[in-house]
Symmetry: C2
Subunit: 317 residues, 2 copies
């Protein structure tokens, strides 16, 4: 029987205290807080559970971390954890699931509509006190392709239906193939992208998906198509993307994630007028959202029930 | 038995020829075209049906118009026709219905999302090559009130559902009350608006709805609420709106329609930073859309079937 008050280390470079307070407010009292590698090292002995963001994972295979049995990530993507093969296999890793679909799908439709309707033109006309009626295009009838049909992809699909779009999808396991009009497997990327008006990437970053969007895939897309990345930056080979966007092959790229974040101020993506850049804000980890997911998981943990968001380390997410 | 080739006058100050060509392509050959009052006067004798936009209605009670039995408007709103009491009662008036819901509902969500997510801030950060993560608000959980639950209002309601919003509605006949979470009658405007985050006006302009949004209604709204008008400009008392927006009582007003259109360049609405102005483009009458609606109605007409979009002149729309 596990203790109903496991010892928890909350780690975050900037928001550790807020998370700790929220978890404490749910009745868990054995909580330690760390914002730096030094503090983490000091608090690891005796720690059973880590709630972490950008945790110094090299500490986890040290003897001082031997009491750790579960690591809950504050994010949906765990590619940083998967990249560290030294994390002992007996540490269970979980990620946040089902928390970001609403945020990310709202972001997706914000930008699809902003671009398609030419809101920039409307705002410019207003600034010039100018009456400028024109007929905006319709999202209805356009074709969207969602790569990745997990909880985030599924919410994008559901909203695309409400906008009467044609909905295609690509996924690795095919479990959600029934929610789209046409489903493609990872062997069919070219066939998948060639008919799309919009390609939206929600895939996790794994060995199988890194740089999956390269020169060949980008050139297989229609010239008036738009690509949107709300997954992970390295899904796209950015060098290839810059080259293709410079040639004007695609209508637009809408990017919320990048190979290097924050995006360096001198990055060539900033120089391209058909590229729209936002600061990894489409699926924010809110304190309340992460905390309530974690608290629910602690209750499962102390009652020996299966955890939510369990990461399969072979699969990579 | 009516002729299968009725004589049709197509009237529009700027697009008459395009409409006429489309109708002709559907096999109707007795077509006359007019773009001015003079041309209309010349072509009225013998005309049975008018497809019109901004038609000089004072001509309709003249002897030269005695052959006219049906007037099909190119728009959804017919307040200009209703305002002319001299139009003989034996002329049937129809308006376009079920054509604008997709356009207008896309416009509504374009602006709700654009404002809520603060796209302007995201674009400004990009212009400054600046990494600026922030947590945008969620549309999910907010409350939208749709005034007018015809085909346009119904499509807004359906998309609001996909965004997991609370949906309230106000309508005059209550027929569609079941599609909203809470329904209000025209006696309950204050109760209707006081809990809303967003008030969207899709009502027709009639004696009962003119200036229905006045100082009292605007002040009954929450201070962080947004009003959006995609119906007719005169639903809102613009003098009252300018006064309330100057005081900053509402978060924003999103206006696609105005008491005077085009909106005069020196109109005070242009001076208010919390007012977003577009040029009556949310529900465009496309040639194809209007033409196919009209052609379907001609076929009903020649077969003595009930016309679609029949205007009830007592009701005013």
């Amino acid at each position: 029987m596990k203790s109903t008050q496991p010892t928890i280390l909350v780690y975050s470079p900037d928001r550790a205290k807020a998370y700790a307070e929220c978890v404490r407010n749910h009745g868990f009292n054995h909580i330690k807080v760390a914002a730096t590698s030094e503090e983490a090292k000091k608090h690891l002995p005796g720690t059973e559970i880590i709630l972490g963001w950008k945790f110094p994972t090299h500490l986890l295979n040290k003897p001082s971390a031997s009491s750790v049995s579960w690591y809950q990530s504050m994010g949906a993507g765990v590619d940083d954890l998967m990249a560290d093969a030294t994390i002992p296999n007996n540490i269970t890793i979980t990620r946040i699931v089902d928390q970001f679909g609403t945020y990310i799908s709202e972001y997706v439709f914000t930008f699809l509509l902003y671009m398609l309707k030419d809101v920039a033109r409307m705002k410019q006309s207003q600034r010039e006190n100018r009456w400028d009626p024109f007929i905006p295009e319709l999202l209805a009838g356009k074709t969207i392709g969602v790569a990745g049909l997990g909880s985030i992809g599924a919410e994008i699909v559901q909203k695309a239906r409400a906008f009467q779009m044609n909905v295609h999808g690509l996924s690795f396991n095919g479990k959600q193939a029934h929610i789209v009009d046409r489903h493609f497997s990872p062997e069919q990327w070219v066939a998948f992208v060639k008919d799309l008006d919009y390609l939206v990437l929600t895939l996790p970053l794994t060995d199988a998906t890194k740089h999956i969007i390269n020169h060949d895939i980008l050139l297989a897309m229609k010239t008036n198509a738009t690509i949107m990345n709300v997954g992970r930056g390295a899904l796209i080979n950015e060098t290839d993307l810059v080259s293709v966007m410079r040639k004007g092959h695609l209508k637009a790229a809408i990017l919320d994630v990048f190979e290097t974040e924050p995006l360096p101020v001198d990055h060539p993506l900033y120089t391209l007028s058909n590229v729209h850049i936002t600061s990894h804000l489409s699926g924010p980890s809110t304190t309340d959202g992460v905390c309530s997911f974690f608290v629910n998981n602690i209750q499962r943990y102390v009652n020996d029930q299966p955890l939510q968001g369990l990461v399969n380390r072979q699969r990579g997410y």
